[in-house]
Amino acid sequence: MEVLQLLVSGISQGCVYGLIALGFVLIYKATEMVNFAQGDLMMLGAFFAYTYLNLMELHFLVALPLTIFTMAILGAFTERVMIRPMIGEPHFSVLMLTIGLGFILRAAAGAIWGNEPRSLDLPYAGGVIDLGGLIIGYENLVIVIGTAMLCTLLFLFFRFTRLGIAMQAASQNQLAAFYVGIPVKRIYSLVWAISAGISAVAGILVAPVSLIDPLIGFIGIKAFAAAIVGGFGSLPGAIVGGLIIGIVEQFAGLYLPTGFSDVSAYVILLVMLLIRPEGIFATMQQKKV
């Protein structure tokens, strides 16, 4: 039973990593840029939700779309102002740029909302389901269901809509996509908007589990590890990677000495990079001349 309980909390934690990793993968898939500020976007999403739910006391069903919308606008704006001048620059520059962006967002959130941890007034927080000794919190259940729904939506979007296919084309060859009439610049803004929207959802989902403060964005690094373990650029890979890291973390916390739980994500990452650098669901291949 103990093992099962750990598994459940591992899965729900893993789903959060997976969701943030989805944001990474989405941007990477479409623009082949790495957005290191993804965790900080999630933090910002959680704070916007806090503003709408706690400060303005809106209904949850109003606040949720409003948060996603705000973050989407913010994501598109970031792309327009910071990322678009960098199109065609080395990947490393963009990586550094988003690290800088993360620092700015953290400072901004600290300035606006303060550095004290806050909790979100969610209608479903606190309740539990008792399955014969196995106790599952509502918030964990919502995390898992929310993640599953988002993944299905994204999968359908990329597989069946014109826009999704256009995004894939833009990611494979900018110039060729442009030639066949795909508005590459607009697609980039859109991808950032979607990715920021997903991170807003992740922020709302994670809020009842861990309190919100400007530093929660750092779990973005673990999510990044999840994305790499799963195979960067693969949507199911992001979720699988997140689950692996979430579950291992829970078990390491119980069965290994203190400290191992914190580093287990990175140990998995290093081992994975050593034995199979392209990740579980490989989409990368060695660049040919």
């Binding site: 082949e32 800088g100 901004a108 900018q174 580093v263 989409t283 990368m284």
Partner: protein, 358 residues
């Protein structure tokens, strides 16, 4: 504009290209030697810190600026150097032996970290080094018998034989000497075959490989050398801060080091020095800024990292070659006056083609 008439192949690899350089560097050296007699203790301490940053920056520049491998975890090497040095000093080893051991040990660790790095490129490597740095940080916290954990670890005062080097005056000269030797070593490395091979790998791995450069060997060497320099800087930093604790070597430190080489100018040793001066005096600048700003803004906690981030973003967008790149542009403006054109330093744009094949 100065044209050098080359009459010998050796001139290509000379340290000083012409007499003008000898004169200006000589002037700089004289200024630095005279500085301790003119400046107050506070500024001497700050200058020593700048020198230490510069030594660590040389290490990161060799890796990121010259070999093209990005590391987000150089704070770990700084920490390993600092802790190793402090540990051996506490065991009663003499200063020079301990610092050398720390340098070599860090280089060894760097080489070991570099081996898996051979299979990775770009972001993967950056993230692997980041993971390494976080693991090292946790080791520092939990390996209490050696590192003292959160309680920290006192560092003994530096002394070579009977000559104590702890005052800011003596320590300044120690740092200056180490920096000059490090720069000389780095310059020598860069004009040697290994250094040339590193630059070739940065520009194109495939063409480097086809010209017979052993990628694995060169990359591992670059990692080891880079870690070695950073470890050396770490052992000096241990004395500078006096008391080691794991929170002196966090992700922010790594980013600071990277900010230093990017702001200074990637791919030039001048850039390291500019970047080190920038990073060294930025906190003072921010402190001054805090005094002038309205108190509502000035009291924001975490303002400093935010400003770091902002500067990083602005530099990357507007001046990717950093301070040194800007200096080159200004210089060529005056040298070519009135014929300077903006297009002389235009960046070449490339369009993205995926590395994933589908």
């Amino acid at each position: 504009m100065r044209f050098i008439r080359k009459t010998h192949y050796k001139q290509d690899i000379q340290l000083f290209k012409h007499e003008g350089q000898v004169f200006w560097y000589g002037l700089l050296a004289a200024g630095l030697l005279a500085a301790p007699f003119l400046l107050s203790d506070f500024y001497l301490g700050e200058l020593s810190l700048v020198f230490i940053y510069a030594i660590a920056g040389i290490g990161l520049m060799l890796l990121t600026g010259y070999t093209g491998l990005v590391s987000l975890g150089h704070a770990a090497f700084l920490a390993i150097g600092a802790y190793t040095h402090a540990y051996f000093l506490a065991q009663g080893w003499p200063f020079l032996l301990s610092a050398t051991t720390a340098t070599l040990f860090t280089a060894l660790i760097g080489g070991i970290v570099g081996i898996p790095a051979l299979r990775m490129t770009g972001i993967y490597l950056a993230v692997a080094t980041l993971a390494f740095a976080i693991i090292v940080e946790q080791v520092l916290v939990h390996w209490e018998s050696v590192t003292g954990g959160f309680r920290g670890m006192a560092v003994e005062l530096p002394a070579i034989g009977a000559l104590a080097l702890d005052g800011s005056f003596n320590f300044y000269f120690l740092c200056l000497a180490v920096l000059v030797v490090s720069l000389w070593l780095a310059l020598n490395l860069l004009r040697s075959p290994t250094g040339r091979a590193m630059t070739a790998i940065r520009d194109s791995e495939i063409s480097a490989q086809s010209m017979g450069i052993h990628l694995a060997y060169t990359k591992t060497t670059a990692f080891a050398i880079s870690a070695g320099f950073t470890g050396l800087a770490g052992s000096l930093l241990a004395h500078k801060i006096g008391y080691l604790a794991p929170d002196s070597f966090t992700l922010l430190t790594s980013i600071q080091l990277l900010l230093m080489v990017v702001v200074g100018g990637l791919g030039s040793l001048h850039g390291v020095i500019y970047g080190a001066i920038f990073i060294g005096f930025l906190p003072q600048g921010i402190a001054v800024l805090r005094d002038t700003l309205p108190s509502g803004i000035a009291q924001i906690p975490g303002l400093e990292p935010g400003i770091f981030g902002l500067i990083l973003v602005l530099v990357l967008i507007y001046e990717p070659l950093g301070i040194y790149g800007r200096w080159l542009k200004i210089r060529s403006y005056f040298e070519a006056f009135p014929l300077y054109r903006k297009a002389m330093h235009k960046r070449q744009r490339s369009y993205l083609r995926t590395e994933r094949l589908r």
